[in-house]
Amino acid sequence: MTRGNAPAAIASLVLASPVVIGAAYSGLAAVGAVGAGADGLSGAALVHVLTSSVTWQGVAWTVATAGVATFLATAAAVVVAVRVRGSRTGRLLAVLPMGVPHVAAALAALLMLGQSGLLSRLARLAGLTAIPSDFPALVYDQAGVALVIASAWKEFPYLALTALAVLLTDAARLEEVARTLGATSTQAFWRITWPRVWLGTAPAALAAFAFLLGQYEMPALLAPSNPTALALLTYERSIDPMLARRAEAHVLALLALVISASIVILYARLQHRGQSESA
């Protein structure tokens, strides 16, 4: 380490310390060394969680719903950002939902998409359904429709803001240069704007995905009981009436951390490879 980058390293360490300390505590609690119900060193919680189909189905379901929501939000954010970049009102409207708390977004989805929600009532008024259960199950459903819609809607403004920032600075300047060099508007868009926006938005999309993987409020209001979303499973274990099972909550929390960290590392490697190839 050189003297020049020492402050940066210290800052990184300070920023990472809550995660490192939390992970270390969870690591100790996962093997029964600390925490409620700690009964001496044991790998039982680790084995039980990692060999349980409940865990892996919950992980798969959480990754799938978070992944689909992130993809939809990112695609919509890029398209909308490109469309509204020239309109101040459009830009404002695109980022407006950012102030809505996640739990409020989930409640809105519940009131809108539930079998007794607004859409269901409109369908009833239109004579399309007779009772609430005639309306498709979009909330607490195994496909996670309402959860995906609410998550995508909530992450959309954050991603749109990022895409707009890229478009209004870097990409706009390069696009102008391309146009002055004779590129058509279509060529400039696909060869310059689109790749810049995608690349610029990717880290934000990654952050949104990592957030959705671990968030509790929206699955608590919208997810089904089976499969059990990773955050719900973790909380359930953390308050399990069997004290000995609380160590499992720490194993699940570490599992979520490993998944998020793996995705960040994978992205960093891909980005590094991309930069090496372009150089």
Binding site: G35, S116, P132, A137, P224, N226, S238, M242
Partner: protein, 359 residues
């Protein structure tokens, strides 16, 4: 304490706290924290600060939380005999005197008593089922209109069914018995197996908690919600959470009643203040106020015979509330809790066999 009910919060913040301040100079500040979370929090505090004072002087607990706190040596005591108002408590009641069959042993003081009840709307369900057997028939003839939640209230409902299918609560009394539990559990699962396809959403998913149940009921998606407090229906109607016509229903087979208690953590920063508060909460004045369905509707733990006049008649007047279930009906149908392990095991087995559908 659990801060999920505005009626309870208002009783503590707006009625108890000002009186504690003016009468004793004790500042009461209620903060969020319930059941299992309290155990985690107190263990973490102990690990982080050792024997130094923690953050909570008094905790609201019962059953498994009491068992866990005792196991982890998180509760101070015995101290309840030092309180003047302890002599007014109805300790002869099997529901108040034993906490899920555990002897409080002076480590927790009773605060209130509640009884499980189903909640229904007579306009939608003019002839509700009056027993577990009738409920099974009702569920079959009304597909998709019944469910229970995944947490404490839902498990209390299932435990009540297990009692009824196994010859009553007496079968499970006297500590946890693995053999008796397995027989009871298997009977319950046999009862549930043909019924769950008639549950809400064909039994493929269950509401997370009673708040979700209340929402489904109020929106007409299901015909019954449930509560561990027979009077909650009255307070929830007043809050506008439940429809005005909603009523409580207690099965002829009986429903589970339990008491809730107050404990002082070993690291309490103000144990003396906590004792003064507990004694005040046991006073006839505080217990009567809490009993009013316009306030909280929480049952009293006081022995009417031990109260000086005119308190007994005041309690009788409040208990005769037209909206509440008659006191004698409740007393006749109240079934005590059994060892906390029955609850813990039932929850675990229900999750595996019913929620996951993998027996």
């Amino acid at each position: 304490m659990w801060r999920g009910d505005p009626a309870i919060n208002s009783y503590v913040d707006d009625w108890v706290a000002p009186r504690m301040r003016s009468l004793y100079g004790v500042e009461v500040r209620a903060v969020e924290g319930q059941g299992a979370e309290l155990v985690n929090a107190l263990v973490t505090e102990r690990e982080a600060t050792g024997v130094r004072p923690g953050t909570a002087s008094l905790v609201w607990i019962n059953g498994e939380t009491f068992a866990q706190m005792r196991r982890e040596n998180l509760l101070a005591g015995p101290w309840t005999d030092h309180l003047p108002n302890t002599r007014l408590v109805d300790t002869a009641s099997p529901i108040i005197g034993r906490d899920f069959e555990q002897d409080p042993a002076g480590f927790e003081s009773p605060w209130g008593m509640v009884q499980f009840a189903l909640i229904y709307d007579p306009a939608r369900t003019p002839a509700p089922p009056r027993s577990i057997e009738m409920l099974a028939r009702w569920i079959r003839s009304h597909p998709g209109r019944f469910t229970h939640d995944q947490q404490f209230t839902g498990m209390t409902f299932l435990k009540g069914v297990m009692y009824a299918l196994s010859g009553g609560v007496e079968t499970f009394q006297g500590g946890f018995d693995e053999g008796k539990y397995r027989v009871g559990r298997d009977r319950l699962l046999e009862w549930l197996k043909p019924l769950t396809p008639y549950f809400w959403r064909d039994g493929t998913t269950y509401p997370l908690d009673v708040a979700a149940m209340h929402r489904l009921f109020a929106n007409g998606e299901i015909d019954f919600t449930m509560s561990n407090n027979q009077n909650e229906v009255v307070t929830k109607v007043r809050q506008g959470v439940l429809p005005p016509e909603a009523r409580a229903l207690v099965f002829d087979d009986g429903t589970i009643a339990n008491a809730h208690y107050l404990g002082i953590p070993t690291n309490a920063p103000n144990a003396a203040g906590a004792m003064v508060l507990t004694d005040f909460l046991l006073s006839p004045e505080a217990q009567l106020e809490k009993l009013r369905t316009t306030v909280w509707g929480d049952g009293t733990v006081l022995n009417m015979a031990a109260l000086p006049a005119p308190w007994p008649s005041r309690f009788e007047t409040v208990m005769a509330d037209a909206q509440a279930l008659p006191r004698d009906v409740l007393a006749q149908r109240a079934r005590p809790e059994v060892h906390p392990l029955y609850h813990a095991r039932l929850l675990e087995d229900w999750r595996q066999a019913v929620r996951r559908g993998t027996p």
